[in-house]
Symmetry: C2
């Protein structure tokens, strides 16, 4: 595996593969790898000739007061993990490499980015779309991989790829969970042992909701109250949202029928945690 | 020359050239070709292996009440002209091809798009950047050509190309003028014969300004008053702006020194006309 820091070096490294028509798979990340990230890389390894992973903690998608400064960074460990799953290139640009002096162009979207997490993190998805658009242009991959835990992000990126004619397949891969069901997240390290244990109630609440719906419950508000009741067991937590929504529009539904998604976000200590479950 | 209407067909047509590492030159236009457009195509012909020209009157860059509906369209004549200068592919997508149902992603920029024409055409440059970003992704050319008459547009696109890592060279080519100095524009057809004759005062006013500055005048307001005085000779015209600005930031300068630009926009009957002159 080769670690590359500049766009110029990356272009030079990928040029021969492009010339030979090799299939490039790309996994954009912020590092601090866990099994969720590795599952994306393994899938890229299976499906593509060249696997490229980027690590870039993107300042543009953090608001003032969020965790940009303390977001976990551990390049030596990430390198080891990426190499262990067969990644070919690790692209680790600096902030100056990504945002040159005078930077002022942005990608944004109507509707989807204002919902769910967007309501609580204004500008977040603009930052995500901008950096992902840049990385797409830099890497010019054939296939890109995102995780289902960030459902809203994946949906917005899919829409961006269609709308701006990025010529690539977007694959959204299942959320990888700990043994107790907790969704893996780089932010789980912010949790103390008790908080971490309690946080398992997030997934439990989603499973409970799914069971209610499978058993015939159709009222979103009934299901949401039950989820809220379960989440109260997490000491010192504060709910950002609990929503049952249309999978395509992210609009809340009152009556649950057909394909929907139940999505939650809550703050536990210093961590903001999200999770979701598809209801088919 | 081949005329292509869909993105899929264009990709298929360009694939062999991409594979062979041929240099693709791209001229994005709204059609209604005049010598200005043709000069860009000739330059692309000289510098590239494959010359691609797009014609797309982009609804996104017109506000309500602007001239989207009556903007001149003449594909048979444009085809003939493009072929005469050696264009290989004319890409003529429909609005539905460019803006699929549910389209809602945009490219925008801070600062530059709010100045000059942006003050009078809110959302215009967002529409331009979005469609140009799309076309860049669709065509994946090596070199793209823009005209100096749309100085602000060219500057914004250059910035966009750097900021979003489009991997291409942007060439800005000189404004082509009629014998009386009038800048060629597809919108000149909106002018009656008297209006057209009067409109030559636009370039005359710019030349007069340049002469004043060459002769030592350093006060922007003095120069602007003289330009305004000359433009008054154009019957029924209304000035949108007359500005002497920094070439990079488009910020008005009070004292003229070094590289600046004098830019004017005015309405003459149904036409909104722009022109500019570099002051080195």
């Amino acid at each position: 595996m080769r670690t590359i820091q500049t766009i110029q070096d990356l272009n030079a490294a990928l040029a021969p593969f492009r010339r030979d028509g090799k299939r490039i798979g790309f996994v954009p990340t912020m590092g601090a790898f866990h099994e969720g990230h590795l599952s994306l890389m393994r899938r890229a390894r299976k499906e593509c000739d060249v696997v490229l992973v980027s690590i870039f903690v993107n300042p543009l998608q953090f608001s003032a007061g969020e965790d940009y400064d303390r977001y976990p960074r551990n390049l030596p460990n990430d390198s080891r993990l990426a190499e262990s799953v067969g990644v070919d290139y690790l692209f680790v640009p600096s902030v100056a490499e990504m945002y040159a002096k005078g930077f002022r162009t942005f990608v944004d979207q109507d509707e989807l980015p204002t919902k769910l997490c967007g309501e609580h993190r204004p500008g977040h998805f603009r930052g995500v779309m901008t950096v992902v658009g840049k990385l797409f242009n830099i890497c010019r991959a054939h296939v890109v991989y995102f995780g289902m835990k960030d459902y809203q992000q994946a949906l917005i990126i899919r829409r961006m790829v269609v709308d701006l004619n990025f010529n690539m397949d977007v694959r959204t891969c299942p959320t990888v969970r700990e043994e107790d069901g907790m969704a893996m997240s780089s932010r789980n390290v912010y949790l103390g042992p008790k908080q971490r244990k309690d946080a398992a109630y997030i997934y439990k609440s989603l499973l409970y909701a799914k069971r209610m719906i499978d058993d015939g419950e159709t009222s979103s508000s009934h299901v949401i109250s039950e989820v809220r009741r379960i989440l109260r067991k997490i000491k010192g937590s504060r709910v950002d949202y609990i929503q049952i929504i249309n999978q395509d529009t992210l609009e809340p539904v009152r009556e649950i029928k057909g394909k929907t998604l139940i999505a939650v976000a809550l703050r536990v200590g210093k961590a903001r945690l999200i999770d979701n479950l598809l209801i088919q």
